[in-house]
Amino acid sequence: MTAKTKPFSFFRLINFFPPMLQQAIILPLLALALTLLISAVLLVITGYNPVTAYRYMWEGVFGNSRVFTEVLLKSTPLILVGTGIAVAFRCGVWNIGAEGQFYAGAVLATWVGIHLAGLPPFLTISVVFLAGFIGGGAWAVIPGWLKVRLKVNEVVSTIMLNYIMIGLTSFLVTGPMQEAKKVFPQTDEIVVAARLPNILPPTRLNIGFLIAVLVAIIAAIILFRTPLGYAIRTVGQNPETARYAGMKVNQSIIIAMLLSGGAAGLAGAIEVSGLTWRMFATISPGYGFDGIAVALLASNNPLGTILSGFLFGALRASSELMQMNARIPSVLFKIIQGLAIAFIIAFSLLSRKVASEKIADRAEAVPTTGS
């Protein structure tokens, strides 16, 4: 019977690595490799040459400094949003509202950036960032509060708040906050002191990417190395035990949401102060939703979002190029993204199953939070 059968030996191999390394690097890369492999088959079936396609893809990411910096610019909000979502998910709160929080942060940052005059650049930018953090954080605290006080399901409330914020933004940029010329549905430009300096002309690169990496590292330190983060994680894993251990469950949820939304809001602020310099209704191409995938691909480990955010940024950036050069429809990239997420979820579940059967059946349970 059992003989020498080791059906899961592959996952034993993964479990050889410490969990941090697994989550941050091994699993995302593995998922990527498998995804590319299967996508190649898809490409062949649909009549494209995968070798050419992937060459264009490679060139679209690493081809020259211009495309590479574009990838970094695209990954910046993804890393930030993904980090924020990871923090909320670790606390067992399904924050699907990063899109709205991104907008909230961007709006507040823009407003501050337009009206803040007379301060030195460093201070101005700091205040703009703070505004972004507060805007996004406040927008996320609302569903957190509704959850702990009134037991409102956060999935529903965060999605609704997305719609409200996006609608509110459209209203603002066509009404109260519209540019002085009143031509386009957009705001005026923020003051020069509020703009992130360009660090590599002639590309558009600013220090936003470095800030995102820094925030991801700080978030990882908070989560894994501070009492606050320990409480947040314990609440996410077993709220009853957290209460038993004297942790303030409700407070932890609110703080996690504040940090989560704050990171998304900061992403909005960086987008405005680094690239667009103004606010308009379609400022996010869905960063808030891609961020969920980024967090999942990183097993909700903020450090991992640096790599997974970069991978998604690269996919997004290179898909445009491939569409132009190899005439491959960009829908295919939606499929690729989907595959990558499916793989990562399958991997993490299976590898945990090998580590312990007992955990596996808990991992599938929807997180609940006691009061």
Partner: protein
């Protein structure tokens, strides 16, 4: 006539990733129609061996023979198709579904049974009755007692046509009456030709129900013997490898200041049902007060109230001089309350977290574990390594997730953590649930040591033996009230029994 062999395991070995060798070359034979007890210390490899037989784990080497034929079992489904069923210690029922729905789940496509639910319910009731079990197939699982849920698990397995049933520590969560019912059922099944493998840590149960016993130690099979050739102490010696004393020496410690004072505590449940009625009690420094009673008579709620996890409807709670009525669990912790909770998986552990962090839990804000506001990983791990040694927690490392430990070793983490915090008041609910006799002896010693140190201990247990062995005073709970109080003299045991059944004997009042 010699019964035929139902199951034969030959040379089963299993090493977990991380290097723990849980099973070493184990061979085991189970006959048709026998109740076979599997004994061994915590972490000896019992659950692992059974999980291999049930297809949940895969052996590295070894063979499984069923009815004289070599078999390959890769999944629980495969095991069931070979006639092997298992009831896990932690039930896997869906509480919001009915008994019948739970039993039938996964057997046929959903659509086909929705139409015939009434027929199926009737069929299940008849099926159970034929095997000596009573059950209401239309009842919701969430309304069942633990013993009834277990019965559902058993029927669920049998209904799939299994004739070899594995029960992993089924009695750990049962009341004595439920245990008797279960054994009655098992004997019935055995008579009908079913084979049963039963894991338990309780010697008296082994002696009562088993036909043969196998003992594991350190992943190895020590011996298999017919029940007529063993005694509780010979079994204990085989398991632990040394003599185990079943009785605890206890010094007379003078009772000190009252630590816990509860006055007129009442708790009304969700549907207006009173769960606790006018409870008043006192536990002094250096005193162990045992709370006996059949499970479900308010003991859990009492424990939750005096640890701050539930807010009483009325009444007051003092810890030493502090009135903590209505305060948060944190305030209770700060006042020096330790708590060994009843259900270690629901509360008290974070299974996904490493062992080290499970030793940290309440103390995560202690300066001792901090370094400039950050968690000091080094001290957290050192602290855990020390406690792992002191409390003999069998784990390959303190980095292992708690879920990978055997049930008894998980319990040792909680007990060790709570005792190590040197609480003023220790609320110990079923502190030795799932522990082997050696570990039970050790934990009992520790509890007595805490008492001698001057701690107040509220010991809540459904095991009368445990209560009798440790307590200075005994309270008996019935339907949310304290129905009687006595000292722990052996002579009182009948009186306690009557109280537990809710009776108030005239004689008891006079003495």
């Amino acid at each position: 006539m010699e019964a035929s062999t139902r199951l034969q395991l030959i040379g089963i070995s299993k090493t977990f990733p991380g290097g723990v060798q849980a099973n070493k070359d184990i061979s085991l034979t189970v006959k048709r129609g026998e109740i076979h007890c599997l004994l061994g210390e915590n972490g000896a490899g019992k659950s692992t061996l059974m999980s291999i037989l049930y297809g949940e784990y895969h052996a590295d080497s070894g063979e499984i023979w069923l009815d004289g034929q070599k078999a390959t079992i890769n999944t629980p489904k495969g095991a069931i198709s070979h006639g092997i069923g298992m009831v896990h210690q932690h039930f896997m029922l869906v509480p919001t579904l009915s008994v019948a729905e739970n039993i039938i789940m996964g057997m046929r496509p959903l659509a086909s049974f929705l139409w015939y639910m009434k027929d199926i319910e009737k069929d299940i009731a008849e099926f159970a009755a034929k095997r000596g079990m009573k059950i209401n197939p239309s009842a919701l699982v969430s309304t069942l007692s633990v013993g009834e849920q277990q019965r559902v698990e058993i029927i669920k397995a049998l209904y799939r046509g299994v004739d070899l049933l594995i029960l992993d520590e089924p009695t750990a969560v049962l009341t004595p009456q439920e245990t008797r019912d279960l054994f009655e059922t098992l004997r019935n099944l055995a008579k009908q030709g079913f084979s049963i493998i039963l894991i338990t840590h309780k010697m008296n149960e082994v002696m009562e129900v088993a036909d043969r016993v196998s003992v594991l130690r350190d992943g190895r099979m020590i011996d298999t013997l017919p029940i007529s050739e063993v005694t509780p102490s010979s079994l204990a010696r085989m398991m632990v490898g040394r003599e185990v004393s079943f009785n605890q020496e206890k010094n007379d410690t003078p009772c000190g200041e009252p630590i816990l004072k509860v006055e007129d505590l009442t708790l009304i449940g969700e549907k207006g049902r009173p769960l606790l009625k006018n409870i008043s009690l006192k536990v002094c420094s250096g005193e162990i007060v045992g709370v006996a009673g059949v499970d479900g008579n308010g003991q859990s709620q009492l424990a939750f109230c005096v640890t701050g996890l539930m807010k009483p409807t009325s009444g007051r709670i003092w810890i030493e001089k502090n009135d903590l009525t209505g305060k948060s669990p944190l305030e209770f912790l700060k006042a020096g309350v330790g708590h060994i909770p009843e259900d270690r998986h629901a509360m008290g552990l974070v299974l996904e977290d490493p062992v080290a962090y499970n030793f940290l839990l309440q103390r995560y804000r202690d300066n001792y574990f901090k370094w400039f506001g950050f968690l000091n990983i080094k001290t957290i791990f050192e602290h855990a390594r020390r406690l792992v040694k002191v409390f003999d927690v069998r784990t390959s490392s303190v980095k292992t997730p708690a879920a990978n430990l055997s049930g008894g070793n998980q319990q040792k983490i909680i007990v060790g953590r709570e005792i190590d915090r040197n609480p003023r008041l220790l609320v110990a609910v079923q502190p030795t649930r799932g522990l082997d006799i050696g570990a039970t002896e050790y934990i009992h010693k520790q509890l007595i040591q805490q008492r001698e140190r001057g701690a107040a201990i509220l010991l809540i247990s459904t095991e009368l033996e445990e209560i009798m062995a440790l307590s200075d005073r005994i309270l008996v709970m019935f339907e949310g009230r304290i129905i009687g109080e006595t000292d722990s003299d052996r002579a009182n045991i009948d009186k306690i029994g009557l109280w537990m059944a809710g009776m108030q004997p005239e004689e008891a009042k006079q003495t």
